[in-house]
């Protein structure tokens, strides 16, 4: 080994080692932050927080099927009893009666601090008379059955006031005392995990525990358990990405190694040829790891495409320099390759500016990978490989390729017509090409999605679509703001705009509100006197209400309710999920329920009246579904702009370098035709296009331009394609094959992001080569 070679190798090894250390310390993630906006708006931040740590993201829905209703109910009770003891779960609901006793007792004990009806007027003679009369009226109704035993202690009906505000909406079905599906054939449970929705490890552990505890309870092997929820999706999606990253990379590596071995028939050349690839792949991960706090699994999965693209440079080098020598190669071909690298870099680089973090990572990963692979090919590979490459002469394949090109060139008009037809079809169907929302990018399979829908409907799980959000510097002001917003929302309920809402202040009123309610309560003697007057003509004798007087007096002397007072009840959980401490203060969530519809399904909330009512209260109204759709549209809009910008950059780069509109036009025509044909093909194959197909179009131009550039270069050197350098042709064919393999492997992926790029760029790269060959021009003429 020569000295420069040794130095190069040492340098390379050092860089690789440093890279390996960075990668070793990198954090890899396969969660949904891939899709979440990097710079969210206030509304989007609510969405992101909810997805990462919201209550709904921590819900698991469980169904027990098989056997008979009694055995399902037994299993449901047993499962609840077991899970309840585990710290991994904060609540397990299965509809068992008695499971809400602690909550009811708490509400009853503190009704005079909690009831929104407690005001000074309520305890005047008139107020008492009215409240007691209302309670007695209620006794006439079957709804008053619950009230009857409480009447002596709660004659003003504060518990009714309290419970009335709670969700009286859809309750799940029940069989044998526990929740059941709509058809009654499955027992249902609703579980809330302690782990956040963004904690995929925690979710995986919790799901594993549900399964193992169920297996331990099930004496009856006829029963089976089905589970769904955001946590399961996260776990499954991570598993899919994990398995695909290794599978796809292995597949593409093996296929490319096989191609290289077939071409080189030399282990040494093959190993050397992979050097830039390994360097590029490592550099990609290092760059992403340094720029972001974690590397997404999907980004690494994109590596299989990078391998196919990065290996091209060494193929050019070996095949082209085999006959000409290194110096000649550098002078003759490197500028073309360099320009190709730059166009690819323009394509990938455009993605860097995306607000969709996944896309920006993919861009950075590919950009650094391609550039490093090219640099290693240019500077490290020659000294390492030495002067004597022992490269097999492949020129004999050249003439065969040329015969193929001749055939292609005779098809110019048919191809143009075909592309025209394809373009026309795309224009006609332009409104049906695109998938309308973000779910297009979701890794959740259709079957899993459907199972989730069924469970959700069976258990009437909350979907938390509408939310009012308040931020405040401290807990007390947050609760006060929640109370103020609550008053506005109460008006909306009376108007029928919304069906109801939840608020942390319902179970934990602000200190100010508690003080004002306490101040409304008269001393015992005074209350007793007023009661005598108020109930003089009432069927309820004041003398029977000793319990009421005692309870009011207890409340008057009792301290403030605090978060700790709620301990041991599910209300603590409810408050914690709606009142959150953030690094910069507190935020309150007020989930809004739509008004009850006439049919089976609920109706949507009319956005504008709610916005108008909350205006000035500091509460932000968010429609999650709307935010999701907006988010996707923003991404799509941005991706369109970035793709155009990337395309313009590539065209600009080529225009400056080529300095000939004719050459530029010849170079771009096959690329644009490829894009049109691929997109038309995808549409005909029934694929709905999304964001990543759009990016794929840009990459067809970015990657395909490499081949077009060689043809352009050759057309300048030779009079006609018959005189093209055979070795160059062969290298292009091989490089194209490896690129197509790299991207094509992604098409096998079940991850929509990778799949879309694969099915677009794989065929696109091949078409770009074929069409470039088809439309290649001659020196100085057409």
């Amino acid at each position: 080994m020569t000295r420069p070679a040794g130095r190069a190798l040492a340098l390379w090894l050092l860089a690789m080692l440093a890279g390996a250390i960075v990668v070793w310390n990198s954090r890899f993630s396969a969660d949904m932050s891939f899709f979440l906006p990097a710079k969210p708006s206030a509304e989007q931040q609510v969405l992101v927080d909810q997805l990462k740590e919201g209550v709904v993201s921590r819900l698991l829905m469980v169904a027990i099927a098989g056997g008979d209703a009694a055995s399902r109910a037994t299993a449901s009770r047993a499962l609840r009893a077991r899970l309840e003891k585990l710290p991994e779960f904060v609540s397990i609901q299965n509809g068992e009666t008695g499971s809400m006793n602690a909550e009811r007792d708490f509400l009853f004990a503190h009704r005079y601090l909690l009831s929104p009806a407690v005001t000074p007027e309520r305890f005047t003679v008139d107020g008492l008379r009215q409240a007691v009369a209302d309670s007695i009226d209620l006794l006439a109704s079957p709804a008053g059955m619950m009230l009857k035993p409480l009447l002596p202690r709660d004659p003003t009906g504060e518990l009714v006031e309290l419970v009335g505000g709670l969700n009286a909406g859809a309750q799940p079905n029940a069989r044998d005392g526990v929740w059941a599906s709509r058809d009654g054939e499955r027992a249902m449970l609703l579980i809330q995990t302690a782990a956040l929705g963004s904690d995929t490890d925690g979710q995986e552990r919790a799901i594993g525990l549900v399964h193992s505890q169920f297996a331990a309870t099930a004496a009856n092997d006829k029963l089976s358990l089905q589970l769904s929820g955001p946590g399961l999706f996260a776990v499954k999606s991570r598993a899919t990405i994990k398995s695909e990253v290794s599978l796809l990379s292995t597949l593409s590596t093996v296929a490319i190694v096989a191609v290289l071995f077939f071409v080189y028939r030399s282990l040494r050349l093959m190993t050397l040829g992979l050097l830039p690839v390994v360097s590029g792949a490592l550099a990609g991960v290092v760059a992403v790891s340094l720029a972001y706090d974690s590397v997404f699994g999907i980004t690494v999965g994109f590596g299989s495409a990078l391998i196919g693209e990065a290996v091209d440079y060494s193929i050019y080098y070996f095949v082209q320099s085999g006959r000409l020598g290194v110096e000649h190669w550098r002078a003759r071909f490197w500028p073309t390759i360099r320009l190709g690298v730059l166009t690819s870099a323009c394509g990938f680089g455009a993605l860097l500016f995306s607000g969709f973090p996944g896309l920006a990572q993919l861009g950075l990963y590919s950009l650094s990978g391609v550039v490093v692979a090219a640099l290693v090919t240019r500077y490290i590979l020659p000294p390492l490989a030495g002067a004597n490459l022992d490269m097999r002469d492949l020129s004999h394949i050249g003439p065969r390729l040329k015969r193929g090109i001749a055939v292609l060139q005779s098809l110019r008009w048919p191809i143009l017509l075909l592309a025209l037809a394809a373009a026309a079809m795309l224009v006609v169907n332009r409104n049906h090409l695109w998938h309308p929302n973000l779910s297009a990018l979701s890794t959740v399979s259709a079957a899993d999605g459907a199972a989730d829908q069924t469970l959700r409907a069976d258990i009437s799980a909350p979907d938390a679509r509408y939310m009012a959000v308040i931020t405040a510097p401290d807990r007390e002001s947050a609760l006060q703001a929640a109370e103020r917003a609550g008053q506005k929302l109460d008006v909306l309920i009376t108007e029928g705009v919304i069906g109801g809402y939840d608020s942390p202040a319902r179970f934990l009123p602000s200190a100010a509100m508690q003080a004002s309610r306490r101040a409304s309560l008269p001393p015992t003697a005074e209350l007793q006197a007023r009661l005598q007057t108020a109930l003089a003509d009432s069927p309820l004798a004041a003398g029977k209400l000793g319990g009421f007087l005692d309870d009011v007096e207890t409340t008057r002397r009792q301290g403030q309710l605090s978060r700790e007072s709620l301990h041991g009840t599910a209300l603590a959980l409810a408050v914690d999920s709606l009142l959150l401490q953030r690094p910069n203060g507190w935020s309150v969530l007020l989930p809004l329920r739509p008004p009850v519809g006439h049919g089976e399904a609920g109706v949507d909330i009319a956005i504008e009246p709610v916005r108008a009512a909350l205006a000035g209260s500091g509460a932000l109204f968010v429609d999650m579904k709307n935010e999701f759709d907006t988010l996707y549209n923003d991404y799509l809009h941005e991706a369109t702009l970035l793709s155009l910008a990337g395309f313009v950059a590539i065209v600009g780069l080529l225009a400056v370098t080529l300095r000939s509109p004719r050459r530029l036009g010849r170079l771009l025509l096959p690329l644009l035709l490829s894009v049109v044909l691929v997109i038309a093909g995808l549409h005909l194959a029934g694929q709905q296009l999304h964001l990543l197909h759009l990016i794929g179009m840009l990459l067809i131009v970015a990657v395909g331009s490499n081949y077009a550039l060689f043809f352009d270069d050759a057309s300048q050197a030779a009079r006609g394609f018959e005189d093209f350098d055979d070795a160059t042709l062969v290298s292009m064919a091989v490089a194209n094959l490896t690129t197509a393999i790299g991207f094509g492997t992604l098409a096998l992926s079940k991850v929509p992001v990778l799949h879309a790029v694969g099915v677009t760029v794989g065929p696109g790269a091949i078409l770009a080569l074929l069409l470039s060959a088809c439309f290649v021009g001659r020196k100085g003429g057409a």
Binding site: S141, K148, P539
Partner: protein, 192 residues
């Protein structure tokens, strides 16, 4: 049209001589032929805690065999609708729906009315022991719960009626409180 046919049928039935001894089967048969109608009701609840009964009034509409609507007008408007096994209560803009299939105790309670109105002996005997006194013109059907869970809520249900018309339903609750529901049919065709 149908109504006239029913009224005609009713006349034929009442004209028949009451030769056979009046028994539960006969009563159930009579009740089953009653296809429904509208009635005014007055319900009085006698509760130990109150010195006077709570009185509510309103209208009931029964459509055989399983739809019963009870619209309370005083003291407060409230609509209670029983349609098959779905019980919905609407009061003060609040609407509550209960699927009775989920609530065996409530279902048994509801079945006592529904079973009587529709003459469904099997449904009644599932949860109650039946005793009949009187004759077709004035009968008293007593339902005693056979299930412990139901007995813990209601001691006895007494239904009084004449022919195929239920007139009074009295519930005696386990705690001694009772409610009496008086039903007064409104039948414009019959001039009542």
């Amino acid at each position: 049209m149908i109504k006239r046919l029913l009224v005609g049928l009713l006349c034929v039935l009442t004209a028949l001589p009451a030769s056979a001894a009046f028994d539960i089967a006969q009563l159930m048969g009579d009740l089953a032929r009653h296809k429904g109608g509208r009635a005014k009701f007055v319900e009085k609840k006698y509760l130990a805690i109150l010195d006077k009964p709570v009185v509510s009034t309103g209208e009931m509409t029964y459509t055989a065999p399983d739809r019963l609507e009870k619209r309370t007008l005083t003291p407060k408007v409230e609509t209670l609708l029983l349609d098959k096994d779905i019980l919905s209560i609407e009061r003060d803009k609040q609407k509550l729906s209960i699927n009775l299939a989920n609530q065996p105790e409530a279902l048994a309670f509801v079945d006592s009315i529904r079973g009587t109105l529709s003459g469904n002996r099997a449904a009644l005997e599932k949860n109650y022991a039946l005793h009949l006194a009187g004759n077709a013109d004035k009968w008293v059907l007593t339902l005693l719960p056979s299930d412990q869970k139901i007995a813990s809520m209601v001691q006895r249900i007494t239904v009084t009626g004449n022919k195929n018309q239920v007139r009074i339903i009295e519930y005696l609750q386990a705690d001694g409180d009772r409610s009496v529901l008086n039903i007064d049919p409104v039948d414009p065709g019959n001039g009542q």
